[in-house]
């Protein structure tokens, strides 16, 4: 018989076992025994947030930028319900999060006790799995399983609900390694990649004269090696590549083979290539509705190959011709190997085959769909992102965003060259994601430049986390494209609701410079294009948290855009497009 240890200590033992170095949390009555135990575990640092949603997004930012699972610790009742948005966000974007929540003591469960809620019931649809620990002897095993479930297969959030009496109770600590069996065969990340399947893929690629790779967050989730393999695949084939919002950074954004992001606000060349291709190879993306637009007219003449780790992602929205259930990295490794072994001359022998296709793509590129009319009087939001990119691209910069127009401009105009540098809420579209996510990113990468490209409406939803940033001396930069509107809402209202700007204007915005000062950090404001560079440089060079109030043109819309119900080849390129084909004249690409 070993020494008996408490449930609270077991929690930390398992965290240590999984090499957790940071947890994001907020104390409360039902988790106090765990907080009491914190002092005995020096390798684990607790980051005190200001709201449990912030803990969740910070854990997401930490996970996405580091590739390790994010851990959060919240109390029962409101602590758990506040975490729900972040858990749902992580579920939609496949981010590994382990959420530990306190619960009222076992004997009070079901009595509507103080700060009681049905946490496992509430979080069941927004976690991969969750557990209510009713027996101290199950705790170690469940905590260990929680990490296994969160990080294997398609990653995602899990929750372990621990009643207060279980945190106090003592037992022997044993960690058995029987997870594989316990997960009913779900923990394995690798489907079977047969040579037969690889040859089918290669044969389809050889037959194709208009191929395209469409890659997504699965490449990022598979680890940095997958991104290297993807780059190798492009160099082996010479095929064009486009990426989803979540996949940005897996392939260099400034490479000529890269057509830019696709989808509702994707580039003209990416969307037209998706529409016109004869072979689409989807690697780790999920045919989201922001990507496909009208399903019936989505890429009507192409053969489709789909590689995904999650079998339920295959055939959910779009029927495909060849499906391979696999981790992206393993697949790419096998495919590249096969090409190098059996089809050494693929690139050259295929060059002629796809040369006309590249000419088509170049024609679409000539449209310069990301161009905009710049101004000398007001800062155009696109210009602000471009300047931010130019002035920070030589550092290894990490970008988070909120949700809305600024997010799309960031995705369009900030070019990423490495994976794990781009953290944005794609699936759930959570306004308020970027600031706490930046906190988590900076925790994982203390010496890197971390910028939240924000909108003023979004950032106010989780602004309280500036206090966290100041407490832990995290020099995050909150770069607000302030147009005083919920910009994307305003854009839809302008285009589709006869300019009835119902409740999308925020009167009485705070003075962000004063707000920064109130939090004890630095505020910077820019309103003219000619002062932008100097002020951005000032921001980058301050080793403290900064709120940057960038006053931009409030009427600017985000183009290009696929209007609702339209296929990919019917994009709006700019305001003039409502009436006629857009002309390049009068538009400058800055």
């Amino acid at each position: 018989m070993g020494k008996l240890i408490s449930g609270a200590e077991i929690v930390f033992k398992v965290l240590e076992h999984h090499k957790v170095d940071h947890i994001f949390g907020y104390p409360g009555g039902a988790v106090l025994p765990i907080y009491d135990e914190l002092k005995n575990h020096k390798t684990i640092k607790h980051i005190l947030v200001r709201h449990e949603q912030g803990a969740g997004h910070a854990a997401e930012g930490y996970a996405r930028s580091s590739g390790k699972p994010g851990v959060m610790l919240v109390t029962s009742g409101p602590g758990a319900t506040n975490a729900v948005t972040a858990l749902t966000d992580a579920y939609m974007d496949s981010i590994p999060i382990v959420c530990i929540s306190g619960q009222v003591p076992t004997h009070l469960i079901g009595t509507d006790a103080f700060q009681e809620c049905d946490t496992t019931g509430i979080t069941r649809p927004c976690t991969k799995h969750n557990w209510l620990v009713k027996d101290i002897n199950d705790l170690a095993k469940i905590m260990d399983l929680a990490f296994e479930v969160a990080t294997t297969g398609r990653p995602g959030p899990v929750l372990v609900d621990i009643p207060k009496d279980i945190q106090f109770k003592k037992t022997n600590f044993v960690l058995k390694n029987s997870n594989k069996k316990k997960l009913n065969g779900k923990s394995s990340s690798n489907g079977k990649i047969t040579t037969n399947n690889l040859d089918k893929v290669i044969s389809l690629m050889k037959k194709s004269s208009k191929p395209i790779f469409y890659t997504g967050g699965g490449v990022i989730n598979s680890g940095p090696e997958a991104s290297n393999l993807l780059r190798e695949l492009i160099s082996l084939t010479g095929f064009p590549i486009t990426s989803t919002l979540q996949g940005l950074g897996a392939y260099p954004g400034d490479d000529p083979s890269f057509l830019g992001m696709l989808g509702m606000h994707g580039t003209y060349e990416a969307n037209n290539a998706m529409y016109s291709c004869d072979l689409m190879v989807n690697i780790g993306a999920r045919f989201d509705d922001r990507i496909t637009g009208k399903v019936d007219e989505f890429s009507p003449n192409s053969k489709k190959i789909h590689i995904d780790i999650d079998p339920s992602s295959i055939g959910k929205n779009i029927k495909v011709d060849l499906a391979i259930v696999s981790d992206v990295g393993s697949f790419l490794k096998a495919l590249n190997k096969r090409i190098k072994e059996k089809h050494k001359d693929f690139l050259n022998s295929n060059k002629h085959n796809i040369s006309k296709w590249w000419k088509d793509i170049d024609k679409w590129r000539q449209k310069k769909s990301l161009s905009f009319k710049n101004s000398k009087e007001v800062i155009k939001p696109q210009y602000a992102v471009q300047r931010l990119y130019e002035l920070s691209k030589n550092k290894d910069t990490f970008i988070t965003t909120e949700v809305g127009q600024h997010q799309m401009w960031a995705a369009q105009h900030y070019k990423f060259n490495k994976p794990n540098r781009w953290m944005t809420s794609g699936g759930l579209g959570t306004m308020g994601y970027g600031l706490p996510a930046a906190v988590g990113v900076q925790i994982a990468h203390p010496d890197k430049l971390v910028i939240d490209i924000a909108g003023e409406a979004s950032v106010l939803m989780t602004m309280q986390e500036m206090s966290t940033a100041v407490q832990y001396k995290l020099p995050i930069k909150i770069f607000i494209l302030n147009n005083q509107y919920m910009g994307m809402v305003r854009q839809w209202q302008e285009l589709l609701h006869e300019k009835n700007y119902s409740e999308s204007y925020t009167a009485a915005l705070p003075d962000f410079v004063k707000l920064a000062e109130a939090y004890g950090c630095v505020g910077i404001k820019a309103s003219k294009p000619d002062e932008l560079d100097e002020k951005i440089n000032q921001m980058i060079n301050i080793n403290e948290p900064v709120i940057f109030d960038c006053r931009v043109d409030p009427s600017e819309n985000c183009y290009p855009m696929i209007p609702s119900g339209k296929p990919h080849n019917q994009m709006l390129l700019g305001p003039e497009d409502e009436k006629e084909e857009v002309s390049d004249e009068g538009k400058t690409l800055v």
Partner: protein, 182 residues
């Protein structure tokens, strides 16, 4: 064509809806039924009937039989989504008109009426493995096992004969022959 005001695309063409029986083997643990049922309600799938009980006491495996309807792609999603749930061991899917599958549903009827009507009612139930479980001066409770549509029909024809209460299980299913679903 009127301009769409939605930020979402319009629905595409729908496939034809068909009935399926989904059988799910799960770990019999707290909340497992809620996970399965919640998946159906959360993703907008139908449940026409549901039957569940532990079938392996040693391994604590329960067998859930769900009758559902949906387009082929929806049925495919139901299976794939169920397989993702951690406590789920395996999922079987049968078409309702599959001749290799046995389906049965059990129903109890309470009939309160005149002797003549009760006799008539009993006669109508006869071909569905009917057992009279309880009798009184002016009533009986009868058990039948039959297909869902037969029970539907029975309810219809027993109603004018004094049917006052109906209780029925969901359908359960099993393959014919010596094979079992792996």
């Amino acid at each position: 064509m009127t301009k769409s005001k939605s930020a979402y695309s319009e629905p595409g063409k729908l496939g034809k809806s068909e009935h399926h029986i989904i059988v799910v083997w799960v770990d019999n643990e707290a909340g497992v039924l809620a996970r399965v049922v919640g998946l159906f309600s959360g993703r907008g799938y139908n449940i026409e009937s549901l039957a569940v009980a532990e079938v392996d006491k040693k391994k604590h495996i329960s067998r859930i039989t769900i009758v559902t309807s949906g387009t082929p792609s929806v049925i495919e999603q139901i299976k794939l989504q169920l397989k993702k749930l951690i406590p789920v061991h395996k999922v079987a899917d049968f078409k309702r008109n599959d001749p290799n599958i046995l389906f049965k549903e059990l129903a109890l009827f309470k009939v309160v009426s005149s002797k003549k009507n009760r006799e008539k009612a009993q006669k109508l139930c006869k071909k569905y493995n009917a057992f009279v479980l309880d009798k009184s001066k002016n009533s009986f409770v009868i058990q039948v096992t039959a297909l869902r549509r037969d029970i539907d029909k029975l309810i219809e024809i027993l109603s004018p004969l004094g049917l006052v209460s109906t209780s029925r299980t969901g359908a359960v299913a099993m393959t014919r022959g010596s094979e079992t679903f792996k």
